[in-house]
């Protein structure tokens, strides 16, 4: 082997977390190689020109959770990070609508149209969630301690967190407890009465999660989504100019700036393990690369059940990984449009096209959608979180044309009878029909349609079961238990083999956090 193939660290997977880890390690002077199976970087955070002239954030579509220090330390704005605010959330209803915008007064009035009490409560709700988010942030920024055999630094970290919790007011602690355990519907019921408001807010509690808004545990996912932070403003969602892939590209450019080597179309077959140590990787094409350490940005199932042989791992660990819940429940429909959707309840072009559009008219609608999936079908009338990137960034589509990104739930990975082309198209039709209920012109303006089922997400992006978070965000799969007890600090039972994907603490979303913390753990900074 020529010495050129020897690296300090190899990162498997050019998703945004893998790239983040690579950037941090390179920044610390390590010689790093990133290996990406596909021809494009970004993993689930990727932009592709799916149809000529129409660019899509194919999978992950909004940015809110990106950690500010990652953006600064990796100099991402210099390398192309440019987040445009999504200024509103629009929920079309039959004959009316609900609109929430960046202007507090306007939002107050809009909600007050439906319920004055809710409008008042809403003013208090956001700041409270911000406070809770602030209370939780130290947990997210701590490397999860080993709960079985805590080291001294684990104990110190735990002590710091306990001390932090003592500073919370009783009220905050109570809300935090509720958020960790309740359903988002129940949590919101305590605050609001206007159902479309509640159901739309609850929707962030089901995104990427195989639960309904009335399922206990969904409130935590809602909180997870509330911790978005753009320009220091909590809960501000943003759209990356040029599509989400540009976030990954910015990180990739940063990594290269610091000296990392990035290879695409380099599919890793397995990690080479010798005497319980990772020593490199073998590619599908037979090439081998040697390194002092290997870091996997893949999900836990792939990292441990595919990349290494089971015999290399302790059996209780294998059992934990097998028990790790990673049910895919969402699909993505990307539409190339000849114009803008015209909503019956708010005709014409307007502010509502510039923000998120949520198809979530009431709890029963969402629960019905969930019930379909629970019993193995895709939702006949699905929940959708929609944005029109071309309104914010005209370069995403040819002049006058538009791209529309529909995140869709529920589409179970384990569909009864399995996914096939017919089912995929039927799923796509269900999405378009659900949209047409509120924007009847949609059927006439669709030029192209890309439908991604969870099975497609698995095939294309290597997301096991198509789960966008690399494992569900349930209480028993968080912190010291993510992905498995004792191995929640980015290490693995194999020496010199590390993990840095969303399947590790603190979980999914475009945060950069697992990648950053894994790198810092490796470098011994934490």
């Amino acid at each position: 082997m020529p010495s050129i193939n020897k690296y300090d660290a190899i990162v498997i997977g050019g998703g945004h977390n893998g790239l983040t880890a690579a950037a941090y390690l390179s920044r610390a002077g390590k010689k790093v190689l990133v290996l990406e199976r596909r021809h494009v970087l970004g993993g689930a955070a990727v932009t592709e020109e799916v149809f000529p002239g129409f660019k899509f954030s194919v999978c992950s579509y909004v940015v809110s959770l990106m950690k500010p220090n990652v953006m600064r330390e990796l100099m991402l704005p210099k390398f192309g990070l440019e987040l445009l605010p999504l200024e509103s959330t629009f929920t079309p209803l039959d004959g009316d609508y609900l609109m929430r915008t960046a202007d507090g007064d306007q939002t107050y009035r809009e909600i007050a149209r439906h319920s004055k009490k809710d409008a008042e409560a809403y003013k208090r709700f956001g700041p409270l969630m911000g406070q809770i988010g602030m209370a939780v942030r130290p947990i997210l920024e701590t490397i999860a301690p080993n709960a079985l055999r805590p080291s001294l630094s684990d104990m110190l970290a735990a002590k710091r967190l306990l001390d932090h919790f003592k500073t919370l007011s009783n009220e905050q602690f109570e809300y935090l407890t509720k958020l960790m355990t309740m359903s988002s519907a129940d949590f919101l019921d305590e605050w609001f009465e206007f159902e479309p408001l509640k159901s739309t807010m609850s929707a962030s509690g089901i995104i990427g999660t195989f639960m309904g808004p009335r399922s206990p545990g969904s409130a935590y996912v809602m909180l997870h989504h509330y911790m978005g932070d753009i320009d220091g403003a909590f809960r501000a969602w943003g759209f990356q100019r040029g599509g989400t892939g540009e976030v990954s590209m910015a990180i990739a450019r940063s990594a290269e700036h610091f000296g990392a080597t990035i290879m695409t179309e380099a599919s890793v077959k397995n990690v080479i393990v010798k005497n319980g140590r990772a020593t490199g990787v073998a590619l599908e094409n037979g090439d081998e690369y040697i390194s002092d350490m290997v870091i996997s940005g893949l999900d836990p199932k792939l990292s441990f059940l595919k990349m290494v042989e089971e015999k290399e791992l302790p059996s209780d660990f294998v059992r934990s990984i097998k028990n790790f819940r990673i049910r895919g429940s969402s699909g993505k429909v990307n539409l190339a449009l000849d114009g803008l959707p015209d909503f019956t309840c708010l005709p014409g072009e307007g502010h509502h096209h510039r923000g998120a559009i949520s198809i979530s008219p009431d709890f029963d609608y969402l629960e019905n959608a969930y019930d379909d999936a629970k019993y193995g079908n895709f939702s006949k009338r699905p929940f959708m979180d929609i944005i029109l990137p071309s309104v914010l960034d005209p370069e995403m589509a040819p002049p006058g044309k538009h791209v529309m990104s529909c995140f869709v739930q529920y589409a179970p990975y384990n569909l009864k009878g399995g996914w096939d082309d017919n089912k995929r198209e039927a799923f796509g039709d269900a999405v378009v029909n659900a949209l047409a209920r509120y924007a009847p012109n949609i059927k006439d303006i669709i030029l192209h349609r890309q439908v991604l089922t969870p099975a497609d997400l698995e095939d294309t992006f290597g997301l096991t079961e198509g789960n966008i978070f690399h494992g569900e965000l349930t209480v028993q799969q968080l912190f010291s238990l993510r992905p498995a007890v004792k191995w929640a600090d980015y290490t693995t039972p194999i020496k010199n083999y590390f993990q840095c994907g969303s399947g590790t603490h603190p979980g999914g979303g475009i945060t950069g956090s697992p990648g950053e913390m894994a790198a810092k753990k490796i470098l011994g900074i934490h």
């Binding site: 709960a147 079985l148 055999r149 919790f165 003592k166 919370l168 009783n170 009220e171 602690f173 109570e174 407890t177 509720k178 960790m180 355990t181 309740m182 129940d186 305590e190 639960m211 309904g212 009335r214 399922s215 206990p216 545990g217 028990n323 819940r325 709890f363 029963d364 629960e367 019930d371 629970k374 019993y375 349930t474 209480v475 028993q476 010291s480 238990l481 007890v485």
Partner: protein, 523 residues
Amino acid sequence: MAQYDIIVIGSGINSLVAASIIAKAGKKVLVLEAREKIGGLASTNEFAPGFQCNAIYDTLKWIDPRIIKELQIQSQGLELIEMDIKRIALGEKENKHIIFHKDPLLTSDSIADHSREDSKKWIDFTTHIEKLTKFLEKLYQLAPPSLPDIGLLDALSMRSLLGPLMGQGPQGLVNLARTAPMMMPELMDEWFENELLRSALSTAGTHGLSYGPYASGTGYNFLHQHLHSKGIIHNSSSVKGGTGAFPAILNNILSSNNADVRTRVKVTSINIKNNVCEGVTTLEGEEILSNQVISGLDPQSTFINLVGNQNLDPSFHTQIKNIKYRGSTARIHFALKDMPKIEGVNEDQMNTVFSISPSMEYLEKASDAVKYGFISENPYVEFSIPSTVNPEFSPDGKHVLTASVQYAPYHLSDSDWDQSSKEQLKQNTIQVLEKKIPDITKLIENSVVHSPKDLEDEFGLTEGNLNHGEMTLDQLLFMRPTASSSQYSTPFKNLFLCGPGTHPGGGLHGMNGYNAAKKVLKG
């Protein structure tokens, strides 16, 4: 001048336990019961001429061992009948049932008929569950610590948890932390493949809840049902003379300790002056003064109905208002002309508990009804024939079959709980029973349906919830009933709580009453 040291409102098991412990300590105690007889949810009633039933609970799952010891209830005459067969989960195929024996090896054999793999894991599973419940057994004996600023005393009081911790190591706690928030399919996926078994176990996780097995937190409820069961799954025992014998014995203890027990006295107000509780007022207008008052009623009844909104601080009012009840379990008592026959079940096995839930999906579908506010079309039915254990429940040769039916939500979206909805619930139940007891319709000579609304009217249970508040993770420990009143005390001086709405929740175990009594006595 106070007439009593303590007034206890209500005479359910917890109230009677609290009253007994306090009376034994030499205090002057008065128990007030609105119904004509004591016992609350542990009562035994005549529901049709010559036919008796256990109002709510046909079996006891566990009793706080401290109560058994301190009140010596067994030497006072409480006779528990331990069955060898704890439960039979009726399978869809005629005679393929799973029989849960007291002896796990026999259960394992029964499971082997369905799945060899599952059978092999059974003993490990029961050991696993037993270990997890060890923590809860200790935790349940404590008043939950006040969080987040847990004090040294609180922390010291939790030292009893060190026992199981030493025994099992941190892995035990980790397992508990993993299992409690689980949904039943997660727990089952980790152990078993056979659907009947998975479903039969899941019914313990959904017992008394408004949720189905796919709800996180059902893992916790499963553990809650198995405390002090020594790993015997679906452990329970019957009471000789009917469940009502239990309160009767506590009543004897009370009278021998100089306590007054008055029935048909409905408390209409808990009297508060300057945030201090001074006694109660009854429906007849009688004002009874006491140094302290303990309410065995649920939080809604205690604070909203009896203390009154005007005395509640706004934030406490909000907390009380936010407690979720959502009773979804109905009880149907059938008077039968003869002993029903179930294929694959011997006559001598009829004294156990039967469950009809062929799959988890069946159970989950039944629970969907709650979300949309209708009565399950194919409900989960759990039944027993108490007249096999207590023959005096029915005339000779005849029998009583009592079914607990989930899900019958308190809040119906399109109707009230009137005769026709009750009739619908009954028909749905009969149609489920018919699959196992084909001639059930012919056997029925009388029946009575207790919807959650009836349970509310009869027993003062808010929304008919038997646990005085849902047993979900957000309403446990230091959150039960609210974060500001989780240690049996209330925002009001001299007013305490002892009902299932407090830690550690519902069932006829008496722990809440015992813990509350100790708290009151400590002062």
